[in-house]
Amino acid sequence: MPNYVMVVDQRRCVGCMACIAACKAENEVPPAHFRTRVIEKVEGKFPELRMEHRSELCMHCDNPPCVYNCPTRASYKDDETGMVLLDPDRCVGCKACIAACPYDVRYTNPKTGVVDKCTFCSHRVVAGQQPACATTCVGQSRIFGDLDDPNSDVSRALAKNPSETLLKSAGTEPRVFYINKFGTPK
């Protein structure tokens, strides 16, 4: 049973937004909504500056508040892949999951009225492909794969580099790992 995770190597991210464009095309995300985004954060005073590019998406948490707070069991943790997914037929658009998610990565699809979010492109993954964002990521900043496979790109990246998760204190146990949160290599 694969243990799918994403590693975001921030050193390699240039904020080009190819991931966003690919995600929107792949998943037909409605205008003005996004399943993923890239944050640019700058600290310091000229000329002593530091800059971070950070892609954010659903963390596919192992301890997912969205799932616990969903009254209809539309949001669920997929047993086979570990992905946090959403069954649109069960969703009533109550937005409890949006309120519960500490990462602000869910939105209501204005066309369907149901909640929508990153699926790690599960439809591509079951077909043996990578998620659209990782496939197109020009700097290879987004790495996707099976953490249980020691030879996978994600395992190797995490073995070689220290990594962190976002909002660790929330106790959500995210499946998205960040290498070098602050962009400047030492």
Binding site: D9, R11, R12, V14, G15, C16, M17, A18, I20, A21, A22, K24, A25, E26, E28, P31, A32, V42, G44, K45, F46, P47, L49, R50, M51, E52, H53, K111, T112, H123, V126, A127, T135, T136, C137, V138, G139, Q140, S141, G183, T184, P185
Partner: protein, 733 residues
């Protein structure tokens, strides 16, 4: 032509599918088609092609279901992208399905520029074009028709113009962009650094970016190599007045005073010569004129350069040391948009001299040698006629490069010297946005008998044309096969994913139909472009069927990128070596070695106007693209945070930018940031569109080119230095 892709799931038939189908009709067409494919009701095909969202021309596949393109993916065989498309590449769908596209031929009914047109049939429009071109030919000669072009359409309209009898073709990608670099390499090594630039960044220990904002300048394979270099621990030295994305990843950021880059380069050369850090063996073997250099750089001490560049002298020395100590595994990027201040060929010469004395050309981690494999040239079906009048495309510039000097053609159009230019054809370019000083461009257009535009979108200059011919997008047409010269030699094909939409046509069809109407049928022995491509492949010994199927074919996989036994570099100069000292320049009374000539600086209260790129846009042409517009819909003017406070401005405020000649921009948002020096402001090029038919981009942001009324011509190449305008910000009341 296409690969069949099996449906992922093939269940749910009959009534179940019908019920689900009812639920799905509320979805937009793409989602419905993807759903239908999943249900096994329709099949998808993957059409290999290459991108035209920018000039990098990455390879990819268009996924097509029921005649609709639903997704674009990269082609791993294509060395310009390694299978990874940038935002613009993914945004190709936005161009294809932009409702603002030109849909039918248009003939002007009002005044030039007032946007009044009537729809016309292709027959009528092409007939009118042929009539107008013939009238100019009869009255003034065929040379009086000029072509401004860029990208894939060039392969169709350049031959048409040559067959018509005019040599006057010019590309803003040269004189307004890369031209001085081409000229500098031609003078110094005789071999271009290529596009993609042959930088071996993946093996570099140090990479120098001087005026190159990689990451914002989104050239897929090069950005890929850039991030590989970062992951490999290469140290980046980034010279930029702005804390660019690349500067954010740099070991050393040198926030240089704008327009003083030459001082830094000369000082680096000074230090390397003085400390004896140059590669003595390499210099002796592969360069010419080294002795003439000695003593010529003595004055350019780091202390002197510190005053010019506003960088600490120690930092100048330390970076020189870092570069020298890691040579030859040092990639010094020569930049791409290099038309800055009219001294551009000389500045590029300084960069090439550095590359040479450090022994980086042909060395691992420096500049790799190109493959020696070559495609035989395909001769035209019939020899082109010899023009009776001398070409005016190069003006009087002694080293104009190969792509014409647009501003020289514009000048001749205004002055009618050496002879009148009465017809312009523009394809794939928007001269109002590409050339500096819009008044001069306007004046030239006013002096034309005929302006023809061939375009996909109703861009500013296009909407001034007398006849507009709607070209279909790159996803709906064949184009020339592109040779990909790098570590090896490959070829890539563009083929239509779907039939042309509306009443649009491929450029090859437009060129051919015009050719037939101008009596040039001998140049078009083929009926479809696919026939011509197949013929080309026969000449090249490339398997056409494989190319159609895979999108990319490797012609030669043997390559030896580094200098070694039996693999010597080739320099196509008179001396067959790198000409550090240029006798060619000396003969034309230019400095044979680069010298420092101080550029004018803005006075207190003024800023130098700098411009650059967003990673999600190309030139002025993508601002209206619905996919890309959503990611970056209007440009902002970057102002140093402290300066902004002093001016009472904060991020999000709207201002007008006013230049030294009193030209006022459209309103533009302020970005108050620590990421820029106090003596300059910056904006992304290609906004502030005035074409009302661009519904998303119309009057969004400011047009840097409108503010570029002043320009400095490089006397060597004729290219226009455009970072010489000084501006103030005026708060919108």
């Amino acid at each position: 032509m296409v690969n069949k892709v099996c449906s992922r799931r093939n269940f749910l038939k009959g009534s179940a599918a019908a019920t689900a189908g009812l639920a799905a009709i509320s979805l937009s067409p793409d989602k419905f088609l993807v759903w239908a494919e999943e249900q096994g009701m329709v099949e998808s095909t993957l059409v290999p092609t290459y991108c035209e969202m920018c000039f990098w021309k990455c390879g990819g596949f268009a996924k097509v279901i029921n005649g609709r393109v639903v997704k674009l993916e990269g082609n791993k065989l294509h060395p310009h992208c390694y299978g990874r498309l940038c935002a613009r590449g993914n945004g190709g769908l936005g161009l294809l399905y932009d409702p603002d596209r030109l849909k039918t031929p248009l003939i002007r009914t009002g005044e030039r520029g007032d946007g009044q047109y009537r729809e016309a049939s292709w027959d009528e429009a092409l007939g009118l074009v042929a009539e107008k071109m013939t009238a100019i030919k009869e009255k003034y000669g065929p040379e009086s028709v000029a072509l401004f072009t860029h990208g894939s359409p060039t392969a169709h309209f350049f031959p048409l113009l040559k067959a018509f009898g005019s040599p006057n073709v010019a590309m803003p990608s040269a004189a307004q962009c890369r031209g001085p670099r081409v000229v500098a390499y031609d003078l110094t090594t005789g071999v271009d650094i290529g596009s993609p630039e042959r930088l071996d960044m993946v093996n570099s220990k140090v990479v120098v970016l001087i005026g190159s904002h990689l990451g914002e300048n989104m050239h897929s394979s090069q950005v890929h190599d850039f991030t590989e270099a970062i992951a490999n621990g290469a140290k980046f030295i980034v010279v930029d007045p702005r804390f660019s994305t690349a500067a954010g990843k740099a070991h050393t950021w040198l926030p240089i005073r704008p327009a003083t880059d030459m001082a830094l380069l000369l000082s680096w050369i000074h230090i390397i010569l003085k400390e004896g850090w140059y590669d003595k063996e390499y210099v002796a073997k592969y360069t010419n004129g080294f002795e003439d250099m000695l003593g010529e750089f003595d004055e350019y001490t780091p202390e002197w350069a510190a005053k010019e560049t506003d960088l600490p002298a120690e930092q100048i020395y330390e970076t020189a040391r870092l570069i020298a100590k890691n040579s030859p595994a040092v990639a010094i990027h020569p930049g791409r948009h290099v038309t800055w201040d009219g001294q551009d060929v000389q500045r590029l010469r300084a960069i090439i001299i550095l590359q040479a004395i450090l022994g980086t050309w042909g060395r691992k981690g420096g500049i790799y040698l190109p493959t020696k494999a070559k495609l035989p040239s395909v001769p035209p079906p019939k020899a082109y006629p010899k023009p009776t009048q001398k070409s005016l495309r190069n003006g009087d510039y002694p080293f104009p490069g190969y792509a014409g000097v647009t501003n020289a053609v514009r000048e001749s159009t205004i002055t009618e010297k050496p002879y009148p230019v009465k017809g312009w054809i523009i394809s794939g370019v928007n001269p109002m946005a590409a050339l500096p000083n819009q008044d001069e461009t306007r004046k030239a257009i006013d002096n034309l008998d005929f302006l023809l535009a061939i375009d996909v979108m109703p861009m500013g200059t296009t909407m001034m044309a007398d006849v507009i011919l709607p070209e279909c997008s790159y996803l709906e047409r064949h184009d020339a096969i592109t040779p990909l010269v790098g570590r090896d030699l490959r070829v890539a094909i563009r083929q239509p994913a779907i039939e042309p939409m509306y009443d649009s046509k491929p450029a090859w069809w437009i060129a051919r139909e015009l050719g037939l109407r101008l009596g040039l049928e001998d140049y078009y022995p083929w009926e479809t472009y696919e026939e011509k491509l197949e013929e080309d492949c026969l000449v090249w010994d490339v398997d056409f069927d494989q190319l159609k199927k895979d999108g990319v074919v490797i012609v030669s996989d043997t390559t030896n990128p580094y200098i070694g036994p039996g693999n010597e570099p080739v320099f196509k100069t008179d001396s067959k070596k790198i000409e550090l000292y240029s006798e060619a320049l000396e003969m034309e009374d230019f400095d044979p070695l680069p010298r420092y000539k101080r550029n004018e600086q803005p006075s207190a209260g003024e800023f130098r106007l700098l411009y650059g790129r967003s990673p999600v846009h190309t030139f002025s042409r993508t601002a209206n693209n619905p996919v890309l517009n959503e990611l970056y819909s209007e440009n902002e003017v970057w102002v140093n945070a402290e300066k902004a406070r002093a001016l009472g401005l904060k991020s999000g405020d709207y201002v007008k930018v006013v230049n030294q000649d009193g030209v006022r921009s459209n309103r533009i948002k302020v970005k108050a940031t620590e990421r820029i020096r106090q003596d300059c402001v910056y904006m992304v090029h290609g906004f502030g569109h005035t074409s009302k038919r661009l519904s998303r981009a119309y009057l969004k942001g400011a047009d840097d080119q409108q503010l570029t009324t002043k320009y400095k011509v490089d006397p060597i190449s004729g290219a226009t230095g455009m970072r010489v305008n000084f501006v103030k910000l005026v708060k919108e009341s």
